[in-house]
Symmetry: D2
Subunit: 248 residues, 4 copies
């Protein structure tokens, strides 16, 4: 039997914001797999994509847990018959607290790392074989692995030790992987999302400001899609993104 | 008489590589103005664009000379009846020498700054009113000012003092302008072009390597165009670009 | 009874190189506490310092384990009667592997973080009360907390994902703490050690090069001491250190 | 006649603040040459140093003018009989304006570059032969060339295009020179002075804040001196400096 060459896309950390927007965007081109801890985060989205003519499945996954991720990818392999992976987006992050370094627990400090860095590593290990397989098929668009960063990826503020250290670490992980797999045709990019994303959870933030004080989740998805379209002769490995009215 | 609201694009530093590719790309949407010192650098390109159904004019301009730039923009204003500017790309750089800091002249050291930084400042002053005017028209795509950087924008190597210091300076200029005019709707971006661009002058470089060891000029143009398409809620102010096989 | 105002210094991650040199240096001014997992790493050093007229004790501590660190600090408090802390140096790091991101285990990837970041956090929590107490005593030299970084703190290379991400994270942690406690008089600094340190383990590295191809551990200790001497009106929060012959 | 091996120190950009403090500090070890445009900036300082038992001469010099600098160094060579140079500190900067990029003149924009970058280049060319000569004498302390940077060396703010671009450029120049001459034993360092220096001109700034809201000029001088003391096996090429109460 000929190997399956129809690629899929996988989004880890699907919630009501960036992850969902990215999944919608990529679903126009690829079947998408939605990974999130809670099915509530992907069920209606999968339904929406499937109704719209795309194809989506959600798998409840704890991205910080290797066994959980392995189980999820076992399902993906079965469902999509060892499909190559055209795009993988890591959008997960742990809860973070805004607290003095003296007042937080080791667990609070480490939460960002366990989900946002160790999780990113586990996810990368899970998707890289499929991304490399896609690269070998000489695809129209290079397989792409994108990590979502934040202001804290490049700026460590007080009371943000856990979040900032995890985001700095994620950036280093992304760069290290980018350098390793680029020669094999896999495009790895890191996006510094520098501003408030306009999602249900932030609807009361910056309330007195016009819409362009926040970042549109759909706009991030467009930017990620454009990264995916870049040729072998033009990889952007890092972009920043901020709304027009952001002070920086 | 109603004001002219048909926007134009202006590219400074048009040669056989990035500048030409950018001009071609933007000419699909806007009349383009090509600025270069030597008419040989824009004549055939203008002809090519005009034949292809676009509209292009070239103006011989010394971008490092305020009077020359003012004269060029006087011509532009007449030719295009005070048109707003949708996009402006600064792609010029001075000659640079690879020499010990002890062996170069002050003129050699300063060449990069005069063209690549002072020139960028003069160009910015010339285009910003037109970019701001376009922003006020609530355009489909935000007016965009893009500066072309290099590896040396973020890495200062030995024997490269003049080039690196001018590229560091250009990056600072780009950021300062970006922060100033973003709230008015003008999107300013800086691109770190980290690798050899595949142009006639570099055809013998990396000869034994496959095509993806060099950056495609057309690919840079695509990336710039995508920056131009970004919404008010998603400005990338800095991107890097390198070919798949670049070591970094 | 009047509170104990005689300050101590604490070095975490004492081995035969930087940690030992730092301990020796600071022992000229303060009783020093040496923390290392294995007593072999501090026993002869403590003896050496005590014989030389200084005062040193070693405590076997797993810096990545909160309970172990708490037990160590309980001993310190008893031994030194709640002494304020004049200086604390974090010099620990986990083992790291040079491996493809696809070929290492989650444990290998995380080793750098558990010791070098979580450990740094636990250590910071343990020393900050003593450092703040010292600041309140209006000391001659501000209490100082120094973190030892590496090339990988600012550069993420391929095959180094675990190490680089932990060092990026440590840098962010250091900066976040620095910003939080500086207004209270605690000086936090991060040192980017960019080169091979001349220690027994590296004696065969760069063998054909002169001594100034490596960093002297004693020289690092001098640099740390000078950070400690800086006044409230002149905190260096980050320095880099490399040998004369380093390429960078 | 045996060559003169008694080294001197040279400070460019002597005013009532950092330059003067640095000159005083280095005058304890070396005869110092004070370069400033206006004799008013060095006359009383030279007198003070000479009275205190040191040796200082001032030379009126326009550091941005190659001929002026050459004339100054001709005087220095005669006065000090081709003395090697132990330390050279570049502390000059052009006037800067806080203005929209659209409202400043090319001259205003370029002022920072002409003095602060071109001047730094001219100064470097003038001192490097003497620094290299000193390195060959196997001195106790490596010859040191220090450049004074600012917050704007790493952060480009709006309305600060000229200043920031010149400071970014200076940083690149410093790094390029550092990499070139380090293997020959010359230690080049760049200091990011991130805060208000406490000098007569700033006496009304931050008036309601305690003294540690400003940087002490003497403290900067101490930091520069400590850079000078670093061994071949431990060069710091960049340090930052800020007062305890600085927000960053």
């Amino acid at each position: 039997m000929a190997p399956n060459t129809t690629p899929i896309a996988i989004v880890a950390g699907v919630g009501p914001g960036t992850g969902a927007a990215v999944a919608r965007k990529f679903s126009a081109a690829y079947p998408v797999v939605l990974l999130a801890r809670s099915p509530a985060n992907f069920e209606s989205l999968a339904e929406e994509i499937n109704k719209a003519g795309g194809k989506a499945i959600g798998i409840s996954t704890d991205i910080s847990d290797e066994a959980s991720v392995k189980a999820a990818f076992e399902k993906i392999r079965k469902e999509y018959e060892d499909a190559p992976i055209a795009a993988a987006v890591f959008n997960a992050g742990g809860k973070f607290v805004r607290k003095s370094v003296m007042e937080q627990t080791v667990e609070e400090f480490g939460a960002g790392w366990h989900v946002g860095v160790k999780g990113a590593f586990i996810f990368s290990q899970a998707v890289l074989p499929g991304l490399l397989k896609h690269a070998e098929n000489d695809p129209k668009h290079q397989p792409t692995l994108i990590f979502t960063g934040a202001t804290a990826s490049i700026k460590a503020n007080p009371l943000m030790a856990g979040f900032a250290s995890s985001k700095f670490a994620l950036r280093a992980l992304a760069t290290s992987i980018a350098k390793e797999v680029a020669p094999k045709g896999v495009h790895v990019a890191h996006a510094v999302i520098d501003g408030v994303i306009d999602i249900p959870r932030t609807k009361d933030w910056l309330k007195d400001m016009p819409p362009e004080a926040k970042i549109g989740a759909d706009d991030i998805a467009d930017a990620y899609w454009n990264l995916h379209l870049q040729s072998k002769r033009c990889f952007s490995n890092e972009i920043d993104i901020r709304p027009m009215l952001e002070k920086w």
